[in-house]
Assembly symmetry: C2
Homo-oligomer: 338 residues x 2
């Protein structure tokens, strides 16, 4: 089969790879329906994370089950499945507590920009649809495997409640999905911090009520002006840089919450500053598997359409251009068709 | 009048001071019924915080109203009052959101180890009792002005719920009051981390179900053994050092919460570590004023008896010995009688 391999910063290639095989009785193999490039894939692509030996890429997927290991009973060959970027057995103590993305047997997916993919913990990870959905829904279902689930988690961790004010820091796909989530959770006011016109437009379409273009302390000052001088009750940090975290913490009112879902790079939180802010802070890899049944239902009934974050579709063979377009901000998110 | 003045680390003196006067129409003057020394007073006493010029000390008090400013209508001269260490107008946006200890007009109390005290924002800060309570209840009411309220906040911030498991890091007065709070909130299992026999005994009396004497990573390993290998759902960090924070974070299960109420000294939280832990973190100066009506009721009805944390009572004139006894861990908390 063929798939994406990263060799060095800026160097992603489409190559012939070994077909994946069942390695454990809890594995499944899927034929990729569609896959995509994630904002977090840009960390190594930009040299902000070590790459080491050349290796496959990708952790978002929807597909058709090809083969299952002997212990996998919840999905069958032929079914259309959605799964999380973090696999989970769905039975361990952390899974039972609602944190499948901290499953004691978790494996992070990392080979999904390819024609076929091995899914560890397949029984706990994959959710099969009753029937193959219309192709028009595939992008939104694909978004559930990471960005929409991650936006949902940002809003949950930020404790968005009906009537509340939510601020979204970051206008990438996750931030935009965070806007969807905040709206679904009943936020009355949703302030998207964005300076890119196409993203502002999508944020407004997804339910943002206000756009703030300023960043850093200027952005914080704007948010405070809009929130009685004290900041918002819920702030979704969807970037992962020190600047974004600082902007998020300072935009939150005493007693409010920051949900942080951008993988932190160079972020340290000063204990005394956090203490005197009275801000609650929670983040992590999104417990996507917990959300899947609900989010699939919202997609199938047309309530949400997170697939709109894909503004570039390319054949999988052109994956390198998909990375470039996102790196250069010509695309919010690239969808890849095998 | 006379009161305590700190001159240098280890040097607290009982001196003659100017009588406090009404400076603002929102002030009140109280005659101190009893006051005490706080664990946080030991930071400057031990040289861990700069002292600057000699200045009065103390932020915990119950007393009798002597005089009120022209705008104070909620309390009257002669009444027995309890108040918070952080004054609040009880009307600003932060107060309305439940965070009076982040009141936009907040002043921290700092002159309470004295015969008379000026209370800023008196109308919003002081809660008058219907009648002067029996002297036997004064210590528990005094505890509400800080340590009991702070323990309550630690448990609230750690999201202690009925049936949950709570770990308390720190066996000072606040940690011990955290045990009381966790019990009142319905925790099924309360693990107190303590290596001092007298404090262990009080923790058990207050409702702790288990004592862990190990500290640091050994302590964490013990907690994990007791919690299915994953940690506790709620951890109360009642110290404020980097070691205590690390112990608290590592003792918490994914999806669990740390409530941190020890003023952080040298604490920095690594963003990536917090991210992958899935632990929620919230702290700050306790919103004591919000709790006062409820906690006063619990004291007056005999439901809780946080005054037991005072294991040394001295005349106010012997305040220096009160500090020494706590510094040398001969006392958990020193009560002072003017």
């Amino acid at each position: 089969m063929r798939g994406a391999v990263i060799h060095a910063p800026g160097d992603v290639r489409f190559e012939t790879l070994d077909d994946p095989k069942i390695l454990h009785p809890t594995d499944a193999i899927i034929r990729t329906a569609i896959t995509c490039v994630c904002g977090s894939d840009l960390w190594p692509y930009r040299g902000a994370e070590p790459i080491g030996d050349p290796h496959p890429m990708g952790h978002e997927y929807v597909g058709f089950v090809e083969e299952v290991g002997s212990e996998v009973t919840s999905v069958q060959p032929g079914q259309f499945v959605v799964g999380s970027f973090a696999t989970s057995d769905n039975t361990c103590a952390n899974c039972r507590n609602g944190f499948p993305s901290n499953c004691l047997h978790r494996k992070f997916m990392s080979t999904c920009q390819a024609e076929y993919v091995r899914i560890p913990n397949a029984g706990g990870t994959l959710v099969a649809l009753d029937e193959t959905p219309d192709k028009s829904l595939w992008p939104s279902l694909l978004a559930l495997s990471d960005v929409m689930g991650t936006g949902w988690w940002a809003a949950e961790a930020a404790e968005v409640k009906p009537g509340s004010t939510a601020v979204v820091v970051g206008d990438g796909a996750v931030g935009l999905c965070g806007v969807i989530a905040a709206k679904e959770m009943g936020a009355e006011r949703i302030i998207a911090m964005s300076r890119h016109e196409s993203r502002q437009k999508l944020a407004l379409e997804f339910g943002a009520t206000d756009i703030v273009t300023e960043r850093g302390e200027e952005g914080v000052a704007r948010i405070k002006e809009m929130t009685d001088g004290i900041g918002a009750g819920s702030v979704l940090e969807c970037v992962g840089t020190a600047q974004a975290m600082s902007q998020a913490l300072h935009s939150t009112r005493p007693g409010g919450n920051v949900g942080f879902v951008g993988v932190p790079h160079g972020v340290a939180v000063d204990g005394q500053e956090l203490f005197f802010s009275h801000v609650g802070l929670r983040g992590g890899p999104a417990p996507v598997r917990r959300y899947l049944p609900d989010l699939i239902e919202r997609v199938l009934t047309g309530r949400i359409d997170p697939g709109k974050v894909f503004d570039l579709t390319l054949p999988l063979a052109e994956v390198a251009e998909g990375y470039r377009a996102m790196d250069e901000r010509r695309a919010i998110k690239t969808l890849l068709t095998p």
